[in-house]
Amino acid sequence: MKRIVQIIFLIIHNSYIPAFFSGGIYQGVLKRYCTPILNCWGCPLAWYSCPIGALQHFIGLRFIPFYILGFFGTVGIVIGRMSCGWLCPFGFLQDILYKIRSYKFKLPAGCSYLKYVILIGVVVIITYLTGEPWFCKLCPDGSLIAGIPLVLADKTGDLRTLVGWHYYMKIAILIFILLGSISIKRFFCRTFCPIGAIFSIFNRLSLLRIRVDKEKCADCGACQMVCPMDVPIYKSSNHIDCIRCLDCIKHCPSHAITYEIR
């Protein structure tokens, strides 16, 4: 079910077929709207915009981005981080990469808080000071679905001349994130993603919640085993990293986990 939704949303989001012929990106009305996921608006196939890109755009122009903040607040207060689990194509890619059978590592617990450093440091402060969207300049999703295809499909050769140390840096980050996602569950989402950082604030407040029945729970740890974010749900049910994918509900052997809408 989750996989089907993820694939459908990947197609809905990235299906601007004319890009194959023109080599350019869609610049119509829909690009004014953002979806609550990390999907670069520079991708030739993308219909919608990226909220973190839009946020930085306004911070860079030194406006208070009421529209984006309201958007984050509305989505967050209703479903928390659910869009990360069900809609995000980059999260989907990481889920698939983790399925590769290799030696896996566990992420130290403190790394979850690094994404707030990225959010405040890179997305807000550096962007405000320099006026340029610095997170987008380093974002691995941007290089994977926008940077690389645009440069490879470039016919005029203008873009290729722009390739320099900065572009090399982006590719290094992308390979590092891919390597991390093979060996660690949703490495990018848990450590770096600023969208996740914003939504995670609403996880404890949102209308949709995960509830663990302590009477039934046997502390077996099956929920953490199936959790794509490696959250110990039996210990803390609305953890900042919970993406409401609801896999734990399906796999809990004692049916102790339920979701509730209050």
Partner: protein, 523 residues
């Protein structure tokens, strides 16, 4: 050998080692990402600049991960039974071997068949199947497992290791070290090897025959055993340190814990009683009281009731908080032993004992409060103290750091002295056989690394993981096996083993109950 070969292939071809080891898709994915990114860089190359070195750095990381992965192999999530096992056994693997009737053998493990008899089985407390009905009888399935013969290494290292104490920890450490090619000598002060298992565990829980078999298997690997040699008396520590490249201390915990109450000198000690009963002494006391809730207390009570005494156990917490094995407690109750919880002795007099009531609201590890003014007297012919034991390594004081409780301070088996290692009860205080064997394995690895001069961190990376081939089986609705016990009236009067071995077919059915949770609940 296969892991080394695949690591070698992976050094030259990224992803090649994975394909060689049978993980086709992993190998392809690794190769696509690594060689794909190289192709991409060739395509968009605009000249060298400092940022290129960051890409080289990431490629190097990827290459390292690829070699590491080829060497270690894919690892599944650890299921609860493996995670909590103090001995480091992977129960789900051997259960799967039984259920699939595989011809493969589980690697030799010291004291494997003894663990079946006297392990408190923390794995069964955590078993995932417990949620559906009840836990898989992990402990009893051991007798249906085919284990391979103890492996003796062909390569000989020119280093000698001395072990003090031929208990379960010392013997298993000896096996692991001989397996790695060292020459090992064990010093034991008693007449025969076996330590706590031989001296204290009563015959009706563990027959001497079973113990002898297991010890013989280990000693036959080529371990030299020197019995009736007490270190500090017959041979000094300095002499040993001169003679051996590394010393392993596994002296155990033999010193009984005292309660410090008036009249305690009139009591007998539980360990003493067990030892004397095992040597064939008859105790005809009459009305006996036993203080304590551990395995020692239950063993003393059950031994004494077999010699025609009337036994009552007094324990300071609730019955369900007793640290003794659950099954042993039930068997003891069946045999007619009374357990009176929530009371403590205050003073021991000639033919009676003054007791006081207690309350323990916080359970197993919580504080015990004495209710003042609730004293009562019990008429007892003898009181036996069985409230725990601790290590007493006096002869070691000048050589290693020891904490207040008499335990040797260690880290992965290494003590404050780089040539002395320690494990088992001497480090942990009084713990189980599984703890001892687990520590032995860990410490043997530490000794091996230190003698080869490898840093422990690198050693951890090189540690091989046992790669099992497990199959996912459908969930079957079978109730938990009932382990046959001897008839109560019959077993009450002799010292033969109480638990009987279950039939192979029944055990096969029991193995089918395992959910194979790491495969079933894979992300």
């Amino acid at each position: 050998m296969k892991s080394v070969k695949s690591a070698l292939i992976s050094i030259f071809i990224v992803g090649g080692g994975q394909i060689y080891a049978g993980r086709l898709w992993t190998g392809i994915a690794f190769a696509v990402i690594f060689y794909g990114s190289i192709l991409l860089m060739r395509n968009i190359w605009t000249g060298l600049n400092p940022a290129f070195w960051s890409i080289v750095g990431v490629w190097f990381l990827f290459w390292l991960y690829n070699i590491f992965d080829a060497y270690k192999g894919a690892r599944l999530e650890q299921p609860p039974c493996e995670r909590v096992c103090p001995a480091g056994i992977a129960p789900w693997v051997y259960i799967n071997l039984i259920a699939t009737e595989s011809k493969e053998k589980y690697p030799f493990f010291p004291f494997f068949n003894i663990l079946e008899r006297i392990c408190p089985a923390p794995c069964e407390d955590q078993c995932t199947r417990k949620i559906i009905d009840s836990a898989v009888a992990i402990k009893y399935l051991k007798s249906a497992v085919k284990t391979s013969e103890p492996a003796v290494s062909d390569k000989k290292r020119n280093k000698k290791v001395g072990i003090i104490g031929a208990g379960p920890c010392g013997l298993s450490a000896g096996y692991y070290l001989v397996n790695k090619g060292y020459s090992v000598t064990i010093y034991e002060k008693e007449e025969k090897p076996g330590g706590v298992l031989r001296t204290f565990i009563p015959e009706f829980r563990l027959s001497t025959q079973a113990l002898e078999n297991e010890i013989k298997k280990i000693l036959d690997c080529g371990i030299e055993l020197k019995c009736r040699t007490e270190v500090g008396k017959d041979i000094s520590m300095d002499e040993l340190l001169q003679k051996y490249d590394a010393l392993f201390i596994a002296t155990g915990a033999w010193e009984p814990v005292k309660m410090n109450i008036p009249g305690e000198e009139m009591c007998l000690n539980g360990l003493e009683v067990l030892k004397r009963i095992k040597q064939g002494e008859e105790f005809g006391i009459g009305q006996v009281g036993v203080i304590g809730g551990g395995n020692t207390a239950i063993d003393v009570a059950r031994s004494l009731i077999r010699q025609g005494n009337k036994v009552t156990i007094y324990y300071r917490r609730r019955i369900e908080d007793m640290p003794a094995e659950h099954e042993d407690r039930e068997e003891a109750l069946e045999e007619g032993i009374k357990i009176i919880p929530l009371c403590l002795p205050r003073a021991v007099k000639k033919d009676r004992v003054v007791m006081v009531k207690t309350e323990s609201p916080e359970g197993r590890l919580g504080e015990v409060k004495v209710i003042e003014g609730s004293e009562f007297e019990v008429k007892l012919d003898k009181l036996i103290m069985a409230c725990g034991q601790k290590p007493k390594p006096d002869f070691l004081k000048p050589y290693v750091n020891i904490d207040e409780a008499g335990r040797i301070k260690t880290k992965d088996g290494r003590t404050s002295n780089p040539r002395i290692f320690a494990g088992g009860d001497a480090v942990l205080g009084s713990k189980t056989l599984a703890h001892a064997v687990g520590q032995a394995k860990e410490t043997a690895e530490s000794i091996d690394l230190s003698l080869r001069g490898i840093h422990p961190f690198i050693g951890r990376l090189l540690k091989k993981t046992y790669l099992p081939r497990v199959e996912l089986l459908p969930i079957k609705d079978i109730p938990r096996i009932k382990i046959p016990h001897r008839n109560i009236e019959e077993r009450k009067h002799d010292f033969l083993e109480v638990e009987l071995r279950a039939k192979k077919e029944d055990l096969k059915k029991e193995a089918d109950r395992c959910l194979v949770c790491p495969l079933r609940y894979r992300p």
